[in-house]
């Protein structure tokens, strides 16, 4: 195993420019799961970002919140303003493992790792977050809902690193996050849902689901139903939109049928009464 230990983001970008197959490492909470059994991954080359204090920042500006790439779940849980402005960040952070994981795991690592079951990604996407990708040639910003191109695939080039996550400060009059797992704590999501509605007129809905597609997925058809004000009287009324938005599978944690059924119920029972069309 090779490990490169940069002292700055610039130095880390230099490494990435020279060597295309580096694996960035932050909290390592996903990489080291059952590590002794995963010999093949011991032979790869890693780029340890964990000491780059310049990336461990939480910055509030007039119109956005910026999380440096090393910001952990616990950092956000401790932030005095996060709970009032972005309550879903708090709700999801509390449900990522327990404090032992929350203290090491990072939001950017959750994005970069690319698991469809990631619990931090849906809430960031529901808040319309953008990902800052930095390389030797500069930084570009990509909307998080356009970041993934397939299962654990993204638009990030091998010479780029996630340097920050930026979340616009907007007014929301509705925000909800649901995580359905085998138990209340320490579970991996079978189906998760994050939804927001911007209170600006006309209202903008964002609906994001996890563990029901190859990536965390923004659900355009469900959003269209909500924007159109289509009458919804029962969970099944979401079925066609769900079928268009997500492609759940049977796997070790759940079944496709269960995931679709529960997604419809989560949508219906979360939204019932929130909009006059849904009752």
């Amino acid at each position: 195993m090779n490990v490169l230990l940069p002292n700055s983001l610039a130095e880390a970008c230099d490494f990435c420019a020279k060597q295309p197959d580096l694996i960035p490492l932050a909290g390592a909470t996903d990489l080291l799961v059952h590590w002794p059994l995963r010999q093949a991954e011991h032979d790869k080359t890693y780029l340890d970002l964990s000491k780059l204090q310049e990336l461990r920042t939480i910055t509030w500006s007039a119109n956005s919140l910026t999380l440096g790439a090393l910001t952990t779940y616990w950092d956000v849980l401790q932030d005095p303003r996060a709970k009032s402005d972005f309550p879903l960040l708090i709700e999801s952070a509390r449900q990522v493992g327990a404090i032992q994981i929350q203290s090491r795991g990072t939001w950017a690592g959750n994005i970069a790792n690319g698991s469809p079951a990631a619990d931090g990604v849906p809430v960031l996407m529901a808040y319309d977050a953008s990902v800052a990708l930095t390389s030797k040639s500069g930084t570009r910003s990509v909307p998080l809902h356009e970041y993934y191109t397939g299962y654990r695939k993204s638009v990030r080039r091998s010479d780029e690193l996630i340097s920050a996550i930026s979340i616009p400060l907007r007014r929301y009059d509705f925000a909800v996050f649901h995580k359905v797992g085998a138990r209340r704590a320490q579970a991996i999501t079978k189906i998760g849902l994050a939804m927001t509605r911007e209170s600006a007129k006309p209202a903008t809905w964002r609906v994001v689901a996890n563990s029901v597609a190859a990536t965390v997925k923004r659900c355009a058809a469900v959003e269209n139903l909500l924007h159109a004000g289509a009458p919804i009287r029962k969970p099944e009324d979401f079925a066609a939109a769900i079928a268009s938005d997500v492609t759940p599978i049977d796997d070790i944690r759940s079944t496709a049928d269960y995931r679709r059924t529960v997604m419809a119920r989560l949508l219906y029972h979360s939204l019932k009464g929130v909009s006059p069309a849904i009752s």
């Binding site: 195993m1 090779n2 490990v3 490169l4 230990l5 940069p6 002292n7 130095e11 490492l25 390592a28 909470t29 080291l32 799961v33 059952h34 590590w35 002794p36 010999q39 011991h42 032979d43 890693y46 340890d48 964990s50 000491k51 616990w74 849980l77 509390r94 493992g97 327990a98 404090i99 032992q100 994981i101 203290s103 090491r104 704590a185 320490q186």
Partner: protein, 176 residues
Amino acid sequence: MGFATSQSSMNHQSTQSSATLNGTIAIRFTLNGREVEIAVDPTERLLDTLRYRLNLPGSKEGCGEGECGACTVTIDDLPANSCLVPTFQVRGCNVRTIESIPTSSLQPMLETGATQCGACTPGVVVTANWIKEHSSVLASHTLRALMAGNLCRCTGYDGIIDGLEKWIGNPKGGRP
């Protein structure tokens, strides 16, 4: 796990760790209050370094996937699963293990039957001791939420929470 793995390379000096030495990384960190200097293989997990190289076998391996919490230590004053930490990441850090906590702390837990087989107990005590030292977190978290990362398969949770309430002197744990 295999410590004898391939070479590591460290082309750049970090503030805390220095040169490559026979495929290893030389690191310094504070462990239970004393300075430690050790050369580690990059694949080494903190849990194994503690147990098999630094003679601190109190931290246990339960699941090896960051779920059970039997390997809990604190790193820079926050609980962490030492099975998920590459040892080279603790360079410059302050690490505390169960061995740093006085056994007298356990008395309230003994009185409430908080330990049965004992496998989870070191991790439970490390997390509980951290909560006791940071009791302000109980304003935003229940004891049960803070202890959610320490699984007890004897299902002694009520005894554990009762013991912690006694020890910490805070009644906010609560039955679910």
